[in-house]
């Protein structure tokens, strides 16, 4: 197992290197970070030349990539060069954004997983029942819904709910525009109350998006197992229905779904990007959108490097977890 992990990590190093070079090339070709400088009053050609040299733009791209790579690997991720901003360091900006997104995604995915698995199992056990058809059509509808529309709808019903609360003389509970600055204070009950108010809407939006995939996947794998030989044997031996479902089928049907989160990491990420934008959270999504708008190459490279590495790690995690849960799959 350990040898397998090490080998996989070694294989992913060249892929990450080539991928990061491709990204670097693309980002370098996509625009001139000094383009806006020309339009500012009092900037001479000499200033632009000096800025170019200080940013290393006079050097060829492979050389610049090498400089970036060595800096990146030694922990110096560079500074934002977007105009009108204090020189933000890339490393804390990206890690902060990652933490914000992570808090949101982990909760939503856990909820979606629990709900999706329960619905999937029920739909498989009662195949072709009304519940099954209802679950199937809901999942199909959610698949076909654009993520941003789900987020917009959830947000606006949240606002309406707040309005109702207010008309009843209560405080607005649900946060629809970014997390509250600072921590939560007050008694334990109040903290919980504020915490759920802040997280509820974006979590629900993200959860709805992932839920469809989990429930479909769990239903399919549960159906496959329910029709397999060992389940028929268990039934033939006279084992009770609930024992067959929970002891024999359910545990095996969990194996494929347990890797779905890791494999779907890319989709989850883009869902989070959009949800964050709608709800005004300053996570990875907002960071990407702002860095592209202001054209900030160091920030973009930090963003791309972190997400690409995470995708590789999550894919590896999926394979390892699968091999761990299902001894029939030998890794090596």
């Amino acid at each position: 197992m350990i040898r397998y992990i090490i080998r996989r990590l070694l294989i992913s190093i060249p892929i990450l290197l080539i991928g990061s070079f491709a990204c670097y090339y693309l980002v370098s070709k996509a625009g001139n970070p000094l383009a806006d400088m020309r339009f500012r009053p009092g900037v001479t050609e000499a200033d632009i030349k000096a800025a170019e040299i200080s940013l290393g733009l006079d050097k060829p791209i492979p050389l610049r990539y090498w400089d970036w790579l060595t800096d990146f690997l030694t922990g110096d991720w560079g500074q934002s060069i977007a105009l009108g901003q204090a020189k933000t360091a890339v490393f804390p900006a990206v890690t902060d954004a990652l933490w914000t997104t992570g808090r949101l995604v982990i909760g939503a995915e856990l909820l979606a997983l629990t709900l999706g698995v329960s619905v999937g199992v029920l739909a498989a056990v009662r195949q072709y029942s009304i519940f099954d058809y209802l679950a199937t059509s809901t999942a199909f509808l959610m698949f076909s819904m654009p993520i941003f529309c789900v987020a917009v709808i959830v947000k606006n019903y949240g606002i309406q709910f707040n309005n109702v609360l207010e008309s009843m003389g209560l405080d607005r509970w649900l946060t629809t525009a970014g997390p509250r600055p600072g921590g939560f204070s007050g008694s334990f009950g109040e903290v919980i109350f504020k915490y759920t108010g802040t997280f509820l809407l974006p979590t629900v939006a993200l959860m709805l998006i992932s839920f469809a995939a989990y429930s479909r996947f769990e239903r399919a794998s549960m159906l496959e197992i329910l029709h397999s030989d060992f389940v028929r044997t268990a039934r033939a031996k006279g084992i009770s229905q609930s024992r067959v479902i929970f002891k024999h089928a359910f545990r095996n049907a969990l194996i494929p779904v347990s890797t779905l989160f890791s494999l779907n990491f890319g989709a989850v990420l883009s869902g989070a990007i959009i949800t964050e934008t709608v709800f005004g959270w300053s996570g990875m999504g907002t960071l990407l959108v702002n860095s592209v708008r202001q054209f900030d190459p160091p920030m973009l490279m930090g963003w791309l490097a972190v997400t690409a590495t995470l995708v590789v790690l999550f894919n590896l995690l999926a394979d390892v977890v699968y091999g761990f849960l299902d001894p029939r799959i030998r890794l090596g």
Partner: protein, 305 residues
């Protein structure tokens, strides 16, 4: 796919055990029959055709032009403006026709390009194996680790936000799934006798791939191409919604939602209009894909054809 078994693509044979009644039908006729009998798929096809007419013929019929800003800002729904007007005074229905048109164009181009690239690369990798296989599949791995949405945003920012640039970028990141499926099918198909026979006759690699292998995989290729359309509709809309996709003066369903979702509570029709078009488009394409899957491979479904 090769449903029915032993059907050689270049000379479709009558599939006798499928229908005992004496009439002989070709593989294609059988598939068509099954598809036409798939109720949900036929309804979806109707919706899809309606949306195409709405997008491409609608502008000729409808009174207002999508660029016409002469109406008052934010008029409510009325006989004159069935979906009201936007902030700058454009007729929402006219705008919706135009946006649907661009979204459809983008999605169709993405699906066509992604299928062409995916099938070619996948079949080459699966048929030639060895170093070609390794190289192409590593390329797939490489593209899968870079977030599509980020690269598309950077390219659109750096070059232009025209609708065809968005289509090209999305296509560059949409072919990997089809390539993987095609490769898998090619690996198993190229072991079969008819491929060996073709090779023994001295057929060239392109001929074997496009005359013998691809026709035998046409089922999964068609299904996945359809699903690629649905995925492209949603990806394009998401990208444009973030303001990183199609840029004005071009428009698309995502751009229309972006410009109007702030009116959700005050003028809900400005949000629900594009929303319904977007959802029915992607639902319809998904259902057509499902119907095609059932038609090409009846073993997967319990509904008799």
């Amino acid at each position: 796919m090769a449903s029915g078994g032993g059907v050689v693509a270049s000379a479709p044979q009558p599939d006798s055990h499928e229908f005992d009644a004496a009439k002989t039908r070709t593989q294609g006729q059988l598939v068509l029959r099954r598809f036409l009998r798939h109720r949900l798929a036929m309804v979806s096809l109707g919706v899809f055709v309606f949306l195409i007419l709405f997008a491409f013929l609608g502008p000729f019929v409808w009174t207002y032009d999508y660029e016409d800003v002469s109406s008052k800002s934010y008029l409510p729904m009325s006989g004159e403006h069935p979906l009201g007007t936007t902030q700058v005074g454009k007729d929402m229905l006219a705008l919706l026709m135009r946006g649907t048109g661009y979204s459809l164009q983008i999605a169709l181009i993405v699906a066509a390009l992604a299928t062409a690239i995916g099938v070619t690369f996948g079949a080459l990798a699966g048929y030639l194996r060895g170093i070609v296989d390794t190289a192409l599949m590593r390329l797939v791995d490489l593209l899968l680790i870079i977030p599509q949405i980020a690269v598309a945003a950077i390219v659109v920012k750096g070059f232009s936000g025209s609708w065809y640039v968005v289509a090209l970028v999305l296509a560059a990141f949409a072919w990997m799934q089809i390539a993987r499926i095609t490769r898998g099918e090619t690996l198993s198909l190229s072991e079969r006798e008819f491929v060996e026979a073709a090779r023994a006759c001295g057929a060239s690699t392109p001929r074997i791939i496009f005359k013998h292998l691809v026709p035998n995989m046409i089922g999964s290729i068609t299904v996945n191409a359809t699903l690629a359309i649905a995925a492209a509709v949603l990806t394009e809309a998401a990208l444009s919604f973030l303001g990183l996709g199609v840029q004005p003066p071009d428009t698309s369903l995502g751009v229309i939602v972006l410009e109007n979702y702030g009116q959700f509570l005050n003028r809900p029709w400005l949000f629900w209009g594009p929303f319904i078009v977007l959802v029915s488009l992607s639902l319809a394409v998904n259902f057509i894909g499902d119907g095609l899957r059932d038609a090409f491979d009846p073993r997967q479904t319990k509904v008799r054809a």
